[in-house]
Amino acid sequence: MKTETDNSVKYWRSMEAMQGREVPSSWPGEFPEGASERDEDFTRRDFMKLMGASFGLAGLGLLGVGCRRPEELIIPFGQQPENYIHGVPQYYASARPTRTGAVPIVVEANEGRPTKIEGNQEHPDSNGGTDLHTQASILDLYDPDRARGNRGKGNKTLNREAALKALDKLIKPGKIAILLGQNNSPSRARILTQLSGKAQVFTFEPIDDDIHRRGATAAFGKAVRPYYQLDKAATILSLDCDFIGGECDAHRHIRDFAKRRRKLDDNKMSRLYVAEARMTQTGANADHRLRVKAGAVHGIAAAIASRLGVGGLSEGTLPENVKKEWLDQCANDLRRGGVVMAGHGQPEAVHVLAHAINEKIGAIGESVLFHAAADDGLGSIADLAKASFDTLVIIGGNPAYNAPGDLKWADLIKGKSVVRLGYYDDESAKGADLFLAQTHFLEEWGDARTSDGTLVAIQPLIKPLFDGLSELEVLARIAGVSQTANEIVQATTGKSGNDWKHFLHKGFAVGTKAKPAVVGSVNTATAKSAPSVEENELEVIFARDYSVDDGSFANNGWCQELPDPITKITWDNAVLVSRVTAKDQGWTNGDRVLVEVGDHSVAGPVWIQPGQADGTLVLALGYGRETKGRIANFDGKQVGFNAHPLRPSGVPGFVVGTVKNAAGDPHNFACTQDHWSMEGRAIVREANFEGEDGYKKHKDFASHVGLDSKDHAKHTINPKTGKPYQIYKHPYDAKPELKNAEVQWGMAIDMNTCVGCSACVIACQSENNIPIVGKDQVERGREMSWLRIDRYYTGFGHHPSEGDTDDDKDQHTEAWIDDPQVVNQPMLCQHCESAPCESVCPVNATVHDDEGLNLMVYNRCIGTRYCSNNCAWKVRRFNFFDYNKRPLNALYKGPLASNKENDPTGWDLIKLIKNPEVTVRMRGVMEKCTYCVQRIEEAKIDRKREASREYKDAVARGEKDVTVSTKVAKGGVKTACQQACPAEAIVFGNMADPESEVSEAKKSERDYTVLGFLDTRPHTTYQARVRNPNLKVPGPVDHYYDKPLSSMEYEANAHGDEHHEENGHDKAHKEKD
């Protein structure tokens, strides 16, 4: 890796700089030994090229050794900084600010460059889990497309000081308006108070998380904000509230939700009712899901509220598919304790109703608390449109891209001078008189409060890479505050000396949790009516995108290539419609349509989404960017379409619109899972909590389904030997000495708590240097993620054996997809003991180690791909190209092609994110999940060093016959996916230790093996999922959910088509089941 570059581009600074010491400018990365190569023109890769060439010329004479041994330099410090050990990563506590709070994090830095983000486990409101955006945000730091420096008039590059002086000049005369994004930094709020009289301040966010505060404030007549504690709710009713995915603080909700879902054996499992239009992650995890238009949610809320004794509400007419019994039972369950949550796309009235219900069922103070949250008093973007000003300072956000269309942004800034502080040179930076490069949150000082009220620190791990400025610095300059950002934050906290150090060390201020506010009774006066959508009208719903958010992650390759947790589409958004709507309009997937709302229209391709309400069009925000970013504008083509302008200002997340067909060839989607059904196979195993076939009565239900079930023993067990018929001979049977009796690594994944949030997928990508491959490669099935989440739909009346078609295309036309149940399954290398991949590798590139790991030895691999073909779980990934060596648009270039011509702006900045503990794979080798072998080795080495110290100490004390154990302690290794999982659904550890967490997890009666009948003895096992429906609630088609739909499919399909149809076979099993 390069550490010295030309002086115009400064990638990182040394540790000295971080500790506030002086750093020589001629050596921007004063850098310790090992990773250094001074010679620009002769890198190791060049050496490998030459090496290859010299092999070719071997016969012509054995070359001298000179050219085969490049001179590499080791450059130590002039003065060694304290507490720095080369090769040992350093960890700093910080936080990632979000719109209404923050995610407490711990950041790993290798040789001064941040490489990995984890949750801060010590924070009082964190279990160390994170969300996918927090995991992905580190990639933004090294985004080659980020703004590289400040720019004044005539595109002149300005350093920090010059840029601030230019700012002074621009803001001096006339009236100033400032437009900000939302966050809750106390320091920012303090600086804003000093701006009064100097500037008018406005705020805008396209995703309106502030509605939760406004709703609660309207309900109680007091400035408060709800804080949900889902682990205390026996029943949860979500009114279009995607608390698992699209809402702020989702990772916290997932943690609490999982805590309660896990309580199977103390009979406390919670029940989730959802009323929503679009299939969300919350809907996917619902026990009962009502598919209604977003505009009908108010009616449902009112119906349930009046059942629970909230007076003065008229029910109005509810959609046809809403059954009285559903509402009654839901109200009944809520009466026994629970919580109601309203989503950010719903109008204030629905929020007030939710709080009214919460009050009636006694949820307040229990599963929902209220924290004081004063209005920041800032104007909205609509106020900005009416305000008069000469200079507009746009800080963060991206209004030129995502402002409501009716505001006519271009007209609004016409003739005004514009100062833009932005992370990218984006839409809002166009025509700016002064452009300031914004710092990443890992480069700046700041503070925030997490949703529980705890004050958290944001501290820089690295000096701004491109001379950027932070929001706080710019605001302070305008306000005339001469302190540095560091001093401002320190002054806000009022801490100094050791207090301040302690605060930074922990990352949060101990004991600053907010005290719940006492709230009175709910005033439902404003809740009587809400915008509604008639049955025959088309409803256009604007959704926060799971991967790119509102567009702020649009240039983040990990996010773009992350399959949407529901649609599994990468690199795109779509006009999502239901099967019935598509049929009515005569659409199929990929057809182009023009969606119109008022005067604005946007064209996009159609995608049929199971479980969506009829008569709705769901448009995910955040795509269709008009920037030069090579991810957001992949290969020169815009990714997706921009739905922001369609949305009028001041409306909730849905409006009435119209649609017509548009011209153009059908669109190709890069979808990673276009077959939706398990076809009745027992891949994901489920049972209801209650009922005849339920978990309570049959705790071992998971071992009664699938070909590996007890009931199938007569087919799978060889009567002569009493052992399973084997396809492969078990290596451990033949040579038991190959198995380390003390350590066998294994993983357990609890399907009951996994909600499919995809944080693990990005965490794995970040930890293991997994590249992205681009849309066209994903279309070819060449995505590289080691860990994927499979999402299956199961439906009423879906009987795969009854003349059903297996064609992926036809599944969109079938009625069973209208109201499906959804299951998610994280799928990664299973680390089989008798691994099919190993037996077919001709060069022993994939082999087993004695601790049960299925290893991939990259430098042995010759790329036959036999292993991938023979893997039944399809978890192996092949490097078809040099994804790590070239920009995505140059993949097809030959091995000797220069990167420079394709890469005028330093694409290789991205190389700085690599984890130094993991090999960066090259073209032509296979790769797959390693169980984070680098973390295992690290833990083993740590333990061994420790053991030696214990030995020495004991000998020094004069003890005799000292022996020490080198066994890694329980919980000593955490894989990246496990660490990121907010639900704690992934458990990893030593299976050979009966007391380890993973052994405990695998003891569960719900434990099963995917494709267990292959008898490959995987070390990854799953714990079957339990649904908790109220058996009295009818399903959508006059059925009751007396069994999960997947179990019904399984039975209908004669136990999966992977097996034979013998006489009486089905019958015998039906009786048993």
Binding site: P24, L73, D849, L855
Partner: protein
């Protein structure tokens, strides 16, 4: 019809065959000998920016390896000492020696009067930073990028520096003494008990092992009951790929 080809051409196929075999054999022999780490690496002795002598420091003065390579027990890397480490002694010893100029420059930087404060007149390019010239040591020992060798776990577990680096304490200028090939690593991993030495002898490069009454080397902590140091320390040198390749 005349003979187009002279008679000796009848032997051509044989000659081609024999010649091919000889040439092929020669190439194979050449490659397998000259392209091995032993040939390409052993003996590599680049010229360093400062003629530092390990022999003087480690042998004659008796400095422990860890005096300079002080983080070797904590990190995968054995650090090359910063100039500040050298200056601990050389601020007084040989303080004005011309050979040590690069070290002093790297330590003091623009601070020309060596008072620890950067005066404005010393700051040559007026950036308020003490710019220091680099001290570019040339790397001698290097494993390939796909090998994750960890110094700390070897030196804290009784593997001496000398096993991989040779008698550095007898070298004036360090050279590559051992091949550091995979075969070299495995040889030791397969016979860990013969290579693990008492923990206080790790940096004693000249230590040759204790001998029993018959003059044979032994590697036991306690020759009476036969427990070896490897057993005591729980050393199980892994031969799995995962030990070094991740």
């Amino acid at each position: 019809m005349s003979n187009v080809f002279p008679k000796w051409t009848n032997r051509l196929p044989l000659l081609v065959l024999v010649g091919g075999v000889l040439l092929g054999g020669g190439v194979v022999t050449g490659v397998s000998y000259y392209f091995t780490p032993k040939y390409t690496r052993v003996g590599y002795q680049p010229v360093q920016p400062v003629s530092f002598s390990h022999k003087i420091h480690a042998n004659e003065l008796g400095l422990d390896c860890r005096f300079c390579h002080n983080m070797v027990e904590q990190s995968a890397f054995s650090n090359i000492p910063a100039a500040s480490t050298c200056m601990k002694c050389h601020s007084t010893v040989l303080a004005d020696d011309a050979r040590l100029k690069p070290v002093r420059d790297s330590f003091y930087g623009e601070d020309a009067n060596h008072d620890g404060i950067l005066q404005p007149k010393e700051d040559k390019n007026k950036n308020n930073q003490n710019d220091r010239p680099l001290l570019p040591w040339v790397q001698i020992h290097k494993t390939p990028d796909y090998v994750y060798f960890d110094h700390s776990v070897h030196v804290t577990r009784g593997i001496s520096c000398v096993k991989c680096h040779g008698r550095v304490d007898l070298m004036d200028e360090v050279r590559h003494a051992k091949p550091l090939s995979m075969g070299f690593c495995l040889e030791c991993h397969r016979n860990a008990h013969e290579n693990v030495r008492p923990l206080d002898k790790v940096t004693d490069l000249g230590w040759e092992g204790d001998r029993d009454a018959h003059g044979n080397l032994y590697h036991f902590v306690d020759p009476k009951n036969g427990t070896s140091l490897t057993d005591r320390l729980g050393v199980k040198a892994s031969e799995n790929c995962s030990a070094c390749h991740r």
